[in-house]
């Protein structure tokens, strides 16, 4: 009998709660992320988006409830996360990209990835000397090199200018085109409109809406989502 191939999708959160330092950050959150077009996690500051991504990636464990990733355990081996501020190791750009890549041809694959994000000319430069936008592209190449099933991104362009933002979005699009599921948190509405397949809206640690993009942007169901879309909901 053939065993079903292992997969991390759908990612199912069942009544997930998370507390830290006596503060409840996520509350009773149930969410189902399917394979396919990018899922955008939207919400104001302090909504709990970063914590949600870290839970799904496996960096944190829920205080309550459970997370199932397809038919395997939640793990940093099968998914990758690009942080808002990337951490560049004190070595060359190429070495950074190669860091998470397992196997003999790590440097070769890292070179190819650098090519795809347009940074081959900086391969030998110390990574910490790059601009914010360039570092974020290095982080993307590095995460891509992990061959993830799901790529999580935590507000990757929040500190970047429009040109750098555009470059990052293009790369995310290329990764998505390869079949990698994108789950991205952002508070940039324009970016959300450009990339979303479906939207999960968070507010004060609760999931208020999870709908296809068109539905969310044209006809939000909750007053908080509507306020957020008008630019009125700041926290």
């Amino acid at each position: 009998m053939m065993r079903a191939p292992t997969t991390s999708l759908p990612l199912v959160l069942d009544r997930v709660g998370f507390s830290a330092g006596g503060v409840e950050i996520l509350h009773d959150l149930s969410l189902r992320i399917e394979p396919g077009a990018p899922t955008i996690i939207l919400g104001p500051n302090g909504a709990g988006k970063s914590v949600l991504l870290r839970l799904c990636h496996g960096l944190l464990s829920p205080s309550g409830g459970s997370i199932r990733a397809g038919n395997v355990a939640v793990s940093t081996e099968r998914t990758a996360l690009v942080f808002q501020r990337p951490v560049m190791l004190r070595r060359s750009v190429l070495a950074n990209v190669a860091y998470g890549i397992v196997g003999k041809h790590a440097r070769g694959r890292a070179s190819a990835l650098l090519e795809r994000v347009g940074l081959s000319h900086l391969a030998r430069r110390p990574a910490r000397k790059l601009s914010g936008g360039e570092q974020q592209r290095v982080a993307l190449a590095r995460a891509w090199g992990r061959n993830p099933e799901i790529l999580f991104l935590d507000e990757p362009t929040a500190s970047l200018d429009p040109a750098a933002t555009r470059a990052v979005e293009d790369i995310v699009g290329e990764i998505a085109a390869q079949g990698v599921k994108i789950v991205m948190a952002t508070h940039d509405l324009g970016q959300a409109r450009r990339l979303a397949g479906d939207v999960a809206f968070l507010h004060k640690g609760r999931l208020l809406e999870h709908t296809p993009a068109a539905t969310f942007f044209d006809a939000p169901r909750t007053p908080q989502a509507a306020a957020f879309l008008r630019g009125e909901l700041l926290t």
Partner: protein, 235 residues
């Protein structure tokens, strides 16, 4: 002031003269100090890393103890090691007292806490910056420690140089356990102590300047090695 300038010219004469007695003393000083630093570094870096990353009962007490041990009085360490290595002491059968080996042991005891305590701080600070990113990239404990030690290499070299400085400058411990035996356990610092006690202050100060020149040379060599390393890594 006249004494100082006289001593300085004496130092230059000594260094230029190629006096074999002087170079024997310089050679022994370097042997003892470099051996103690090597031992302390080989033990201190891993222990510092374990203290930085580990979480276990008694960790905080250990950190305080190592920090305090940076201030161990050399003469007390010398006395304790002397009592241990004396023929009437527990380790007397090895016959190590009054030999360079005993001096290396005493200096290692002084330098080891310095390397451990300072590298712990360096690695802990680096880990605070790196831990999430390294875990996200699938780095296990062993690989993480290697990454921290490599990425922290410049600060860690300075830590080792601090240990070297302490060992090169010290006289209280090695004069007790070594016995300041002419031609056998006499080092720069013990020779300076001897000449001072004989009232030959100019010679003592002159030897002091020679010692300073050597320490500066060692630090200069470390600097050159670092620049060469940077260039090789493609700065």
């Amino acid at each position: 002031m006249h004494d100082l300038s006289h001593a300085f010219s004496l130092a230059l004469q000594l260094a230029a003269s190629g006096d074999p007695g002087l170079w024997q003393i310089v050679g022994l000083s370097l042997q003892v100090t470099l051996s103690a630093v090597a031992i302390s570094t080989l033990l201190g870096l891993p222990v510092g890393a374990l203290l930085a990353l580990g979480r276990f009962p008694g960790r905080n007490a250990l950190i305080v103890i190592f920090n305090a041990a940076m201030g161990l009085p050399p003469v007390v360490v010398g006395l304790v090691v002397y009592l241990l290595l004396s023929r009437s002491g527990p380790l007397g059968e090895f016959g190590i007292l009054f030999t360079p080996k005993a001096m290396v042991i005493a200096q290692s005891i002084l330098v080891f806490p310095i390397v451990t305590a300072l590298s712990r701080q360096v690695i802990e600070d680096l880990w605070a910056e790196y831990s999430e990113q390294l875990r996200s990239l699938g780095s296990n404990a062993a690989k993480s420690i290697g990454t921290l030690l490599w990425d922290g290499r410049f600060s860690l070299v300075t830590v080792v140089l601090a240990g070297f400085g302490r060992a090169a400058a010290e006289v209280g411990a090695i004069i007790i356990v070594g016995g300041n035996i002419d031609g056998f356990t006499r080092t720069m610092t013990t020779a300076i102590a001897l000449e001072t006690s004989k009232g030959d202050l100019a010679l003592a100060l002159g030897l002091g300047f020679v010692l300073l020149m050597i320490v500066v040379l060692v630090n200069g060599a470390a600097w050159i090695a670092r620049r060469a390393g940077e260039r090789l890594a493609g700065a």
